[in-house]
Each structure stands twice: as C-alpha cells, then as structure tokens.
Amino acid sequence: MTDRFDAVVIGAGHNGLVCASYLARAGMKVLVCEAGAGPGGMAAPRDFGTGYRVPSLAHVACPVSEILRRDLDLDRHGYSSGDPLKTLALDTVNGPVTLSGDTASGRSLGAADIAAYRDFRGRYLDFASALAPLFENKPPRLKNMAPGDTKTLAKLGWKVRFGLGRDSMYEFLRVAAINIYDVLNETFDDERLKAAIAFDAVIGSAMGPRTPGTVLTWLARLAGERNGAAALTSASLPAALVASAEAAGAEIRFGCPVARILLDDDRATGVELAGGDSIPARLVVSAVDPRATFRRLVGAARLDAMFAHRVTQIRGAGVVGKLHLGLTGLPEFSGVEASEPGQRLLIAPSMRHIERAFNFSKYGECSEQPVFEITIPSLADATLAPDGHHVMSINVAYLPYHLKAGWDQHKPRIVDALVAGLSAYAPGLDALITEHELLSPADIEHEYGAVEGHWHHGEMSIHQSFMLRPLYGAAQYDTPVDNLFLASAGSHPGGGLTGLPGRNAAQRILEMGGAS
C-alpha cells in the first residue's frame, strides 16, 4: 500500500526527532510515535505545583553541534542555545570558585591553579577533539571491518598520533582509562576547583571521582563543550527539532504509546500501539532505552538466547534525583554576589565529599551530605513562576534507584534532608518554599521511560562504550532483528543532549539502504 511508512520512530526525545528528521530529509516517509503529550523527553519543559515550570529534567546542556544545526537547519527553525552559564563551586568558608570558559577565579585561589586550569582545559579539549571521529561516526568494529570502520579507526589513529603529537598522545593514552581523582590531584591544589571538575565527570553516572573511567566520561562532556559553554536548556530545542522534522515531511503523533514491535520471523514489520492498532512500516527505529526495546517491545523470547542473556547484563541504575522548588522569593546563597545566582551553582565542596556521597549509593543508601547542581531558571525567564516568585531546579546525587528503604516510604524524609542541606548554603531557603517536587530515579523511570531511571539509558562505563554500547551485536545501531534499529542515548556515543546517537543511527540506516 502506498501510505505505508518507510520508518516508524519510537519516542520523540531529542534523539528520536533528530533521527526522524534525517530520515525524512533522505526522502523517507517517517512517523514518530511519542507516548507523552509533547516532544523532547528529558529535554522537555515540565510543570509542577501551581504556576511553576522548569526547563526540563536535563536543565543544563551544551549547544548541539554545528553539524546538526546545519544539516537540520535548526537555527532557522527557532533553535537558540541560550546564554552560557558560569559555574560557581560554593564554599561557605572560602567563598566560591568561578569557572567560565578556560578561566578559573575566586578568593584564595592560587595563581598556579588558575594557570593550571587554563592549560588543563586546553589539553583535555584537544583530547576530546581527537575522539571526535569516534563520537561522530558509528563505532568501528574491531574485526571483520567494513570500509567505514577502517576509515574511522584510521582517522582516530591519525588524530591521536599526529593531531595530538607524541607527548600529548602519551599523556592521552596514560589517562584515557583511569579516574579523574588522581589526574586532578596531580594537577591542582584547590579542593573547590578539583571537586567542580570531578562533579562534571561523574554527574549522571553511578561513579565517584575515584572510579576508573571518569576521565572518559569527562571527555564525553567536554566533547559537547566544543560546541559552546553549557547553558540552561531551552524549550527551543525540541520545538526546533519538531519543526525541522515536520518541514522535512515527518509525521509526529503524541499520546501514542507503542506497546510492542511487530515481528515477522526475525524481521521488524511495524509497531502495535497500546490502543491495539498496528502500524506497518518497512523499518522500526527505537529511540527509547535499549533494555526496554529488547525486553519489553521485542521480548526476550524473540531473541537469540545468548543475545538476550547479554541484554540482561547491560548496567545502568540511576543515581541522580531532580528536586524542584517553587519559591516565594529569590534565595540568597552565602558568598554569592547578587548578580550571580542565575549561574550554575555546585554544592560539592571536595572530591572526598563527592566520593563519600557516592559510597552510600553503592549499598542502596542515601548520604546525609549529597551533591547538588542548582539553577534558578526563573531569573532568565520570568514566565516560569508566578509574579515575584522563583523556581529552583536542582540535580541531586547520589540517590540510588534501588533504595533499600524504598522510595515510597522514604521520600518525604529525603526531601527534608535535601532542603536542610541546601539551607546550609542558602540560609532561610526553607521559609521561601511553597511547592516542591522530588523526582527519584524510580519516578524518572516511570515518567520518562528510562530503565532504572538512568539519564544515559545505560552506564557510560568503558565496557559499555563504543562497540560495546549498548552491547556488541547492536552497537552499530542495527540489531539482530532485521529492520530494527536503535537511536537512543543507550547507543554510541551515549548521553547528553548531543543528538549524535540519533544522527549516527540515521546515517547507518541510510548506509544500509534504508531509503530504498
């Protein structure tokens, strides 16, 4: 039949939309099915309480890459990356350290550290650039390579050996697989500074600063900062992606949850909606968590036993909660200038503090001294809160998905502890709170579909990266199920609002002749 779709994309998160947009531009007839009422998934604005709104679950993000902006014409469709945020690492005793671009400043911050920060950041941005060929292509197979794989490896090898140069390459090979804790201790003295960098390396992962692999997670973040400094997530990204996809002829249906992927033998033939209707399509792209894709939408019974077994080995239990506070006024943070509260505020006084907070989560417990990433988006956009009011958007680590005490019973107590923790830095905060909402990893799973509430649809550990993400056999976006492709953060190069998994997936589909 003529109105049959070439591709059905499951999920209108930013990766699903990016993928759909690319496919539509290649002339394919594309349908996007989104369970929720609007686009963007974790990048979508969220209302809470009465009259309060936060930009999204991912409240801070780097601009999407030039490649996407150009290919998808995002700027013309209204995308703006927002004003770059400074990072203030709060400290009640010595005052904050401020990070902006490659400059670090702050009371009692040594000149040596300030210089070291500039060099360090420069050097690691070079490392991130060296990895670019890896991030911007499908991960190369290490045996039985296709020409594309060889090309990527050659580019990577060249960039590492000659792009970086001998000594820088040595250093890259030394640090690539280790923890950020040792590297930062080698380089800096100031605890505030070290903790601020370590925070960016671990946030979103079930890792502490001392966990091997945290240099790589930090490099993944820096790869995003090559496009520009992190800013408050604006609703313009999902909107622009929708506009871009629709302009290219893709159809997007909201409130349209997919119940399962239809199979004919080992071949995907479309999707069945929760309502029971089935939508046939030549190929199916899942932009939801790979674990949900294989376990729930396909079903282990339909998969090769060894593959199904390896799917159960994918790790990714969320450790970050999101606390939203509706405030009657603007809180004051001790040591923070009146002009600064609109920036990104970190409460992570030392790497040891972060590591200790992480320790508890390993045993399904919560630290009394958690780590906070705070923004007050209403300062940038007054419409987010009633007149004179403000809204505070806070990432809290580490709150384990598998909380021994159980989230339902324990949540109120945790909220009190969190507010107390914040009040230590913002005296009188509790008096300003009119509304609050804590999204535990369990809530994030329930409301955003991320299995075990993990931001990145799977831990960004080395053994789940590149050809191992989400698992080998499905790392190049095609899967053991013919005509079924993956396009979420669970695939290479992983989480963050980069759109790269969606783009790489689309290119893989087209390379495999998906358009014909």
Partner: protein, 539 residues
C-alpha cells in the same frame, strides 16, 4: 680490570634483581648485586623473627613465578621445591562455609550445595578465564612496544599483539575488552548468583590494589590468580618449601653458579653518571664501584627520585616519577601458634585449612573494607588471605607448632595523624578479632604476632609507600605505560642504566618476568647472546 669494576651492577637483591643478574651472569657478564639489607631476597624472604619460626614475612605464596625462568635457571637443582596448594575457602557469617577444592568433582559438588545454577555457570566461567589466561600469558615475557616510536621493532611487536588478538573471534575480542575494563564484582555477577561464591572469587582481585571489588579494572586481576593454575605446571601455584626465601635463595645460588657476586649491607645512595652515561654507583659508605651497566631493582619512584641525581633525569621523567601511583593498601600479620587452631564451621579433618582461608562472605563487606581505605583508615572488617603453611612445611615452625600468614586488605599508607606503634597494634587486633570469631581457641594459641603495615614494608624492604607491586596496576601504569609512557622498555634516561623491578611490565607478584625482560634488553644493547627464556605453552 680492577677489583672494583664490573660489567654490570644490579641495585637490590629482590627476586627480580637476582633474576636479572642471573641472566646477565649466565651470558658471561661480570655481575655484582648490591643489597642494603644484611640478607638477600627483598620481599621474597624467610626470616626468623620469633625463636624457632622461620617464615615468609612478606610475599607468602609462589603463584606466578614463570616456569620458563624456573627451567632456564634450573632452580630445581638449586633447591627450590614448590608444594601445590589444594584448596581455598570462605567462612560465612551464618556458620556455614564455601570451599573451592582443586578436585573438579568435589568443587562442583560444593558449588551445587550452595547453588546448582552457579555450579553450571562455573563451567562457562572456567573456560572463559582459561582463554584470557592463555592470551595474557603470551605477553608476560615480552617487551611492550612503544606507541610513540616508529622503529620497525615496535611496529613488529604491535603487529604480533594484533595477530594474537585476531586469533580470537570478533565476539571474543569484545568479551575480552569487557573483561579487561570491568569490575570483578560485575564480571562475576555475569556468571554467579550466590553471595558467598561471588565474594570468594572476587577477593583475589583486590589484593595489593587501591581499588574495590566494584572498581572497573579489577576483573582482569583474576588472571594473576588463575594464571598459575592453568600453566598446567602444578608447581606454579603453591608454597615454596622453606618459605619464599627459598625462591630468592635458589635464584641467588643459580646466579653465583654463573660466577655472580652478591654484597649485602651495601646500600647504594647514588647512580654515578658522566656524559649522559651510567658509570657506576656510590655506596652509603662512600665507596664507589664502576660498571658499564647499572640496573635498578628499586621501584621507579626510588630509582628516579632517590638514587639518581636530579640533573641526570629529564624534567618530564621527574614529573612522571613524582606522579607515579604507588599507594600501599595492604598489611600483614605473621602469627606464631602454639598448635593448630580449630574452625568449628569445618568438618573434622577438612582439607580446607590447607588452603587460602577468607572471612568476608559478601561483596558489600569487601567494598566497605575499601571505603575505609579511601578515607585513610584500615578496614574495620578487612578482607584477609589467611594460610597455615606449617601444615605442609615442617621447616618453618617447631614440631607441633604452627605458623599462620595473614595478608590483610586494606591498610592505609598513612592513617590520619600517621602511624604509631599503638595504631599498628590496634590494626593487628582488628584482624585477630576477625579470625577469633571463627576460631574460638585461636587467641589462646597465639604466641607471637608480627604486625606489618605499609610503613614497615617501606622501611624494611624499601617498597615506596609499602606498595607490594612496586606501583599500582591501573591502566595508566600497565603495558607501554609502565612505569611511564616512553620508558616501558626497561631503559633509563641515561645510557647504560636500566630498571628491572616490578615497577616495569608485567608488574608485581613473584613472577621474575620484569627481571628477565630487562636482562633481554640489556644483552640486546650489549650485543651479547640472549640467555633469557621465551614464553612456552604447555597446553
């Protein structure tokens, strides 16, 4: 040639120094080994620190020593006899135990008792681990290629490694990378479900490391313990009769047999360099001895920051040496016992006391022990590797008496406020209490306990920060990164100067490989016949 001039001087009579010297002497070099202590062996020693008990007071099992070296130096003839270990076990808090027997049928029966599912998984597990062992073992007696060099030799070596990998299937390559970068807990959870079994098989992966069972990069350490087993060479995993001193003793004897010379109480304070070339050493006594080649068996930190003059070392190397990670994480108790302690959990005459005994039966307990170390405390509930070698070897304790060796993970380099003798005794007491929980008569039998923390290890043996591997075995310090990038081929920053200790590839454990590999490079530079052995497979 004057009495005071040699072809080669080796600084430090540890097992690697002696191995290195033995191969140099075997190829005809006039070789002198200098040792600061009044005895040889470094951390591979047997000492009498309590009347009548002569035991291994540092390293305590002979698990990794390369059979190729054993044969090449004919150590059997020099009196080295290794007695195989028959079992290992973990006591459970509920009064039960898990035993891992060397007899595969008994082992399977015991696995079944705890979890039939795990008994089946063990078959898959053993096969997989064996595969990785075969792969890794091929790299031990080779010099790592330098990724920064374009010399044909390095290119060939990379090609060789690549060829080895390509003997694996594509899926196996990915499985290997996962194995190499994973935590031991996560890796084992891919096979096993039973808590005690998980804890039992993960313990070995944290020995001597600054990592926990949940830290990525601990899984492959499993090989350090499996490798001996799969050598097919029974002797490769067990006790040296007479203690570890018998190992260094045999190598020393082989060395002397080749005409080598050893001087004890001869501490080297300075490697002499002139014109970017090592010319000899200066002793604490002020005496200077000249040599064409100077080899350091000291760890990288000591070699570059203590016995070399700053002006002889490039600034980048100095910085690397300062940043070299060598945090100690282990302690040890050597306990003289008035008799054999009883363990009520075990059936009468159980063979399990003949092997490794552990008292931590969950992954959480193991990981919490690590959390203590991260905060510079010794573990309140430590992982211990406890052995009673006197059951095999009557030479180490008087008749009817016994000797217990307790390796303790974790113990900090420096607890808050630094070590004091009082703190050391507190640390020892923690360990004794843990054992006493499982052996009611243990305390009464205890005659003498030598408690060793990283502090004692550094002061006595000269291992910086008491790290038993002469440097942590993390990815930044493995293969061509060990000890640092650009210096992983056993050559120092000046001509005629080399390193042969465990700070170099393939790292720690009484293996002898770094010593042999360094000897190969030295003989190559001197254009002498290569006397060092090639890796052989006997499976």
């Amino acid at each position: 040639m004057t009495q005071n001039s040699y072809d080669a001087i080796v600084i430090g009579a540890g097992h690697n120094g002696l191995t290195n010297a033995a191969f140099l002497a075997k190829s005809g070099l006039r070789t002198l080994v200098l040792e600061k202590n009044p005895y040889t062996g470094g951390a591979t020693v047997s000492r009498e620190l309590h009347d009548g008990w002569k035991y291994s007071n540092c390293s305590y099992v002979c698990s990794l020593f390369r059979p190729e070296i054993y044969n090449a130096l004919d150590l059997g003839r020099h009196g080295l006899k290794v007695i195989p270990l028959v079992a290992s076990m973990t006591f459970k808090q509920d009064g039960d135990y898990f035993g891992s027997y060397s007899d595969p049928n008994v082992r399977r029966r015991e696995l079944m008792r705890h979890s039939p599912r795990d008994a089946d998984a063990a078959i898959r597990f053993d096969t997989d681990v064996m595969r990785w062992c075969r792969l890794i073992r091929g790299f031990l007696l080779r010099t790592p290629p330098d990724p920064g060099s374009f010399r044909p030799r390095d290119a060939f070596e990379f090609a060789y490694l690549l060829k080895k990998f390509y003997e694996l299937s594509e899926a196996q390559i990915y499985e290997f990378i996962r194995f190499f970068t994973m935590s031991i807990a996560e890796y084992l959870e891919n096979y096993f479900e039973n808590e005690a079994i998980l804890a039992h098989y993960s313990g070995g992966s944290i020995i001597g490391t600054g990592l926990g069972v949940y830290s990525p990069g601990t899984a492959y350490v499993l090989l350090h313990h499996a490798m001996g087993d799969v050598d097919g060479n029974v002797g490769a995993w067990g006790f040296a009769r007479g203690g570890m001193g018998a190992v260094s003793g045999a190598i020393a004897s082989a060395f002397k047999g080749y005409g080598g010379e050893i001087r004890t109480d001869a501490e080297v304070v300075q490697i002499l360099v002139s014109g970017r070339r090592a010319t000899g050493v200066r002793l604490a006594s002020g005496e200077e001895i000249s040599a064409k080649v100077v080899v350091s068996n000291l760890d990288a930190k000591r070699t570059f920051l203590k016995v070399m003059d700053e002006k002889d070392v490039p600034p980048t190397v100095l910085e690397r040496a300062r940043n070299f990670k060598i945090r100690g994480s282990s302690g040890k108790l050597n306990i003289a016992l008035d008799g054999m302690p009883t363990f009520p959990a075990l059936p009468k005459d159980s063979p399990l006391t003949l092997g490794h005994m552990h008292f931590t039966d969950t992954l959480e307990r193991l990981e919490r022990a690590y959390d203590d170390w991260k905060d510079d405390r010794w573990s309140g509930d430590p992982y211990t590797d406890t052995l009673i070698p006197s059951q095999y070897d009557p030479t180490i304790a008087p008749p009817g008496k016994h000797m217990m060796s307790v390796f303790v993970q974790y113990c900090p380099v420096e607890p808050e406020g630094g070590w004091t003798d009082e703190k050391r005794e507190k640390f020892g007491q923690t360990v004794i209490d843990q054992i006493a929980d499982y052996s009611p008569d243990f305390r009464d039998l205890l005659l003498h306990a030598e408690v060793r923390t990283p502090r004692e290890l550094e002061n006595e043996v000269g291992l910086t920060e008491g790290n038993i591997f002469q440097g942590e075995l993390t990815f930044d310090q493995l293969l061509f990164n060990r000890p640092f990038p650009g210096y992983a081929q056993y050559r120092g920053p000046v001509k005629g100067m080399y390193l042969c200790g465990s700070s170099n590839h393939p790292g720690g454990g009484v293996m002898g490989a770094p010593g042999a590999n360094a000897a190969r490079e030295i003989l190559r530079d001197l254009k002498r016949p290569d006397t060092t052995p090639e890796e052989f497979s006997d499976d």
